[in-house]
Amino acid sequence: MRSTVEARTGTGDTGRWLHGVLREADLGLLSGLPGMTGEPVRPVRAAGLVAVVSAVPLTEYGEEALHRNLEDLAWLERVARAHHRVVDALAGAGAVVPARLATVHHDDGRVAASLTERRAELAALLDRLTGRGEWGVKGYVVPGAVPQAEETAGPGGAGAAYLRRRRAQLTAREDVQRNAAAAAAAVHEALSRHAVAARRHAPQDRRLSGAPTAMALNGAYLVDATAAAGFAGLVETLGARHPELRLELTGPWPPYSFVAERPAEPARVREPAW
């Protein structure tokens, strides 16, 4: 683990923001692709791989500045979009291993050293990602898609009737959630079988998704480019089969969800507790 002291003794006032790693053959039309500051991104070559970087001023992207700026959600949005634009453009040309946000080296030599150090892992990832794209499938709860039981008459006065109604409402809400959860699991299972790899991420909050109802499925699927049309067709089919979920397909994304060095998750997620 490098110390802060060493990090601060770098040369010059700029750092190298890493966007992603790819093969030379997939570099494509890099020239003119604007990076973090609007200046074109640059390739750094080592170990048969290419890192695509932006030169960034340390006054904004240095250690202390990053601490401050990452807490500024407006700054974060701008930076996240700029980084994603570059990664997305690279993915349009070929396989790319996207770097996590805020990976900054001091100079080209340090970037090259990282490539050399991780060469085997990066090359294996690129092999795995070649000709494939990440697709996102979100499933939103559709209330009222499954008919609910009629209210039953019972003894007691207005108060008892109110309590019965209230209980029925709560039960109905639980049913909606249970149905949506079951549908989400079934949809993920079916999509996973059509994908090379699958991840189920935490659902986004409604404030972020902007959707009127809760998200029950937030899946990512690594799909062969040749199978992408079939995958989209499957999403349509599953949407029709599960009216209790509204499915939304986005992509292809750069393979953000399929490069982390976490232990591989099983495609099948844990069943809910009930």
Partner: protein, 125 residues
């Protein structure tokens, strides 16, 4: 492979999104939480990343919704669970001091799980 995003809804309609900027939440959850981790020279400390990630995840993921469908990532995620995390990175700062500072802040966030609501309002506002 084209990189043009498209949206398919249950109607079966395929809507090319063209040059529409992708949904911010979709981008944030990908660039912050996924993507390969390569140790750079300039590092935001684990402490700060943890708090940022926690804050954003409380925004991005509704804890209630996640629980209802049986996802409990926060209990197993090394970025979030102090039990699963290695000690805070040693550096010029005294690790004891960092740890002592971290404990109440993280605990406070754990107690106020709805902190994300306030943070998100900052963006909206």
């Amino acid at each position: 492979m084209t990189s043009t995003p498209s949206v398919v809804q249950n109607s079966g309609q395929v809507l090319p999104a063209g040059h529409e900027p992708a949904n911010l939440g979709d981008i944030l959850e990908r660039v912050l939480d996924r993507g390969i981790v390569i140790a750079g020279d300039i590092r935001v400390s684990l402490l700060d990343i943890e708090l940022l990630t926690l804050k954003l995840r409380l925004v991005i993921a509704s804890v209630d919704t996640a629980r209802q469908i049986g996802i409990d990532w926060w209990e197993h995620d090394p970025w979030l669970s102090s039990r699963a995390r290695p000690p805070v990175e040693p550096g010029p700062r005294d690790p004891e001091e960092v740890e002592a500072e971290r404990r109440p802040r993280v605990a406070a966030r754990a107690r106020r799980r709805d902190v994300g609501r306030e943070e998100w309002d900052e963006i909206d506002g």
